[in-house]
Symmetry: C2
Subunit: 261 residues, 2 copies
Amino acid sequence: MNETLNILDKRRSVRSFLEKEITPEDAKAIKIATLRAPTAGNMTLYSVIEVTDQKEKETLATLCDDQPMIAKAPMVWIFLADMQKWVNYFQEGGSKAKGEQKNLAAWRNPGLGDLHLCLQDAIIAAQTSVIAAESLGIGSCYIGDILENFEQVKTVLNLSSYTIPACMVVFGYKKNQQEIKLTPRCLEESIFMENQYQELHLDQLEAAFSPLEKQRRATNSLPFDNTGSIADYYYFKKHTSDFMEEMNRSTAVMFDHWTKA
Amino acid sequence: MNETLNILDKRRSVRSFLEKEITPEDAKAIKIATLRAPTAGNMTLYSVIEVTDQKEKETLATLCDDQPMIAKAPMVWIFLADMQKWVNYFQEGGSKAKGEQKNLAAWRNPGLGDLHLCLQDAIIAAQTSVIAAESLGIGSCYIGDILENFEQVKTVLNLSSYTIPACMVVFGYKKNQQEIKLTPRCLEESIFMENQYQELHLDQLEAAFSPLEKQRRATNSLPFDNTGSIADYYYFKKHTSDFMEEMNRSTAVMFDHWTKA
């Protein structure tokens, strides 16, 4: 196993970091690696907001389902799907394009296809930064809750029409590498399929997620006095939670913000 | 610079590969690394369809804006945002959850927040696979055009209600590593912002993308007899292209397929 595979294999999300700033050298190395991430047509359809202001970190910690660890993280990056830069460049520059555009009536506002492509670019960049960081001994965690409370997040981050959160990552030096235990994953064969999608049903799903259920049973974290299944766990803890309801509401507003700009 | 940073730094997308199958050992190593990618709540909200059937590769090559290189690629993976597995598991299993669901009327169909989270999971997994492959000397290229022709793609891939394409990657051994030249990127300072989004305007955008414009001018690939700008180039080649129009139409259908299932 080469060094990179070893890093990918050993990585797990960490939520608690050493109280130590990321050094400028390490931050720079992560930025350089991020910028090399593949991007559709080399258009870099994303931007990254680094949140350095402590009050803003605390506001975001509240908006992201009240997670104080966000405010404590040494480095907080929000990856935006960003088509705004190209809208501006098309409209303000490219005089010939503007001339043609009037003749051809070819102008169009960005749509959901652009949004999807921009999300891809931003998330590809994010995972590149996560792996670059990991190679430097810097742990990280994605914060899915950046999808909540879009109206407030938009104000806090000063988002333009064609910019939306793609994902959020917090970074910091790891506290104690020996302590990090890998989380069990579902079975590989439940993820990889050949030629066509195969819907999994109960028996297969129970087998696929048995390593997770076993782990939760061992730590007494299943519902109904630990007699429930991992499906019960996710159903109550995630699927029917207030934060998922909010995430669904907020993301609908977010997509409307883009398509109805 | 450590080995992983070096790999990230040297990677570029490649579209033409050695005519050599990916060895089972390398394919397995990529799968293992992919499965370790971070995933929201450890739910692995994605699946991967490996397209091995040559006829299906050719159909997808046509559906993805007529790109024969797809049919020639040794390994073709489509990453799906996949909430279907959990819908099935919630509905078929977890009798207590089902009982509660009836009492509490807590059942809800997946929404756009779920879709966004699933896209994140799938694309994070994809970029992990790309980097794992790169470390093994296997080149790759994302194919954005998998977002087109959703109705046909859905049929070809046998997609269920809560499964949509997140991205597509083709892989293969590189032909000649010496030949790979890095593509210039926009300036780093145009991507990374502090605390708030800063809309870029003409002067900044011209500076930000000048390395790309310079490259295209050097290779005579700008519009209007090479006097146009990089904004003109993207405006005509991408933004107002037939394939972007199709991508926008198709992605709207794709998202409806999910929300109106």
